[in-house]
Amino acid sequence: MAIINYAQKVINFKVVYYGPGVAGKTANLQHIHKSLPDVSRGNMISLAAGDDRTLFFDFLPVSATTVRGFTAKFQLYTVPGQVYYNMTRKLVLRGVDGLVFVADSQWDRLRENVESFRNLEENLREYNYNLDEMPYVIQYNKRDLANIAPLPYMEFMLNRRARQVPYFEAVAVNGDGVFDTLNTVSRMVLVGEFGQEKGEHRETA
């Protein structure tokens, strides 16, 4: 839920990176943290278990553009991907304004992707959020690996709802596709909150 603070001239949004375990959600945030200058980002917090898997969430606040005198800030979160962490995953979704679904492109991870996507829909429903109205993009990660499914197949599995959303191929550990993903979802979140002038291009169309 966007928070517009007229006193501080700041608009805050929450964007959650969702997806199955080890798909590269944390890698996205790490690349963003590493690449942005200090003025555009805050500290990154990782609540991880001993094996580097996210236990609760990663958190990284970033600020982008000035919109009519207001600074737009985006608080980026990841969720723990493992199936058994659903309770904490659900907690992180509270108040979400936009989503990045990070899918693992490897053939043997396709089932986990689909299950995670269904789990996302279920968890959103519990907050009375509707994925059809939520700004989101899909990132097909790990495109550098050998055993990956072709893009049309990934699209068929994950992006065949009535509203098809923008998607990106990525190699998050190298940074490929990371900022394309972030720039698109943040733009969709802004348009979702304030609308866009008629006749203008909408990436959510």
Binding site: M1, A2, I3, I4, N5, Y6, A7, Q8, N12, K14, I32, S35, L36, S40, G42, N43, I45, L47, F56, F57, F59, P61, V62, A64, T65, V67, R68, G69, F70, A72, Q75, Y77, M87, T88, L91, V92, R94, G95, V96, G175, V178, F179, D180, L182, N183, S186, R187, L190, V191, F194, G195, Q196, E197, K198, E200, H201
Partner: protein
């Protein structure tokens, strides 16, 4: 959620009174999604953005624990440190109040006045939520240029 300038002044006044009465050093009003709504207190370099995200996470986590025990929620969360402690309590179903305090007061004092402050702030938040979300500069749709964000590397064509 929209906080207009008038709302911010009223909320800060309540938080300032709370600090004076309770002896706490900082008070942060935090949305349960993890975002900081307002803050008053000693002017030191605290990472309030991270504190807000973590406190909201911890509070929502204890709420889930409460539900596992059949409780609606635990209304207070208290972390005791050697020199500084933290008290987090419910304001309403969308916000929490975090107080940081040192050795010059007690958790009992903080708890007592946090309850009063929460009631007052809760009313102000309810009024703020009832107001239109977008006014003035933000009342008309954005142009394509205005909604374009450019984090990091230039966009690939």
């Amino acid at each position: 959620m929209v906080i207009h300038e008038g709302d911010a002044e009223k909320i800060n006044a309540v938080l300032t009174t709370f600090l004076g009465e309770s002896g706490a050093t900082e008070a942060l009003l935090i949305d349960r999604s993890g975002q900081l709504l307002a803050m008053t207190g000693a002017n030191r370099a605290l990472d309030t953005v991270s504190i807000s995200a973590l406190a909201a996470g911890a509070f929502s986590s204890t709420g889930a624990l409460a539900q596992l025990l059949g409780e609606t929620e635990f209304t207070v969360l208290f972390h005791q440190g050697n020199k500084e402690s933290m008290h987090v309590s419910t304001v309403d179903d969308q916000a929490i109040l975090l107080a940081i305090f040192g050795e010059r007061t007690t958790v009992g004092m903080v708890r007592l006045f946090a309850k009063e402050a929460a009631t007052a702030v809760g009313q102000l938040l309810a009024e703020a939520r009832a107001k239109p979300r977008t006014i003035g500069a933000l009342s008309t749709p954005l142009t394509a240029d205005e909604s374009r964000t450019s984090f990091g590397e230039p966009r690939k064509s």
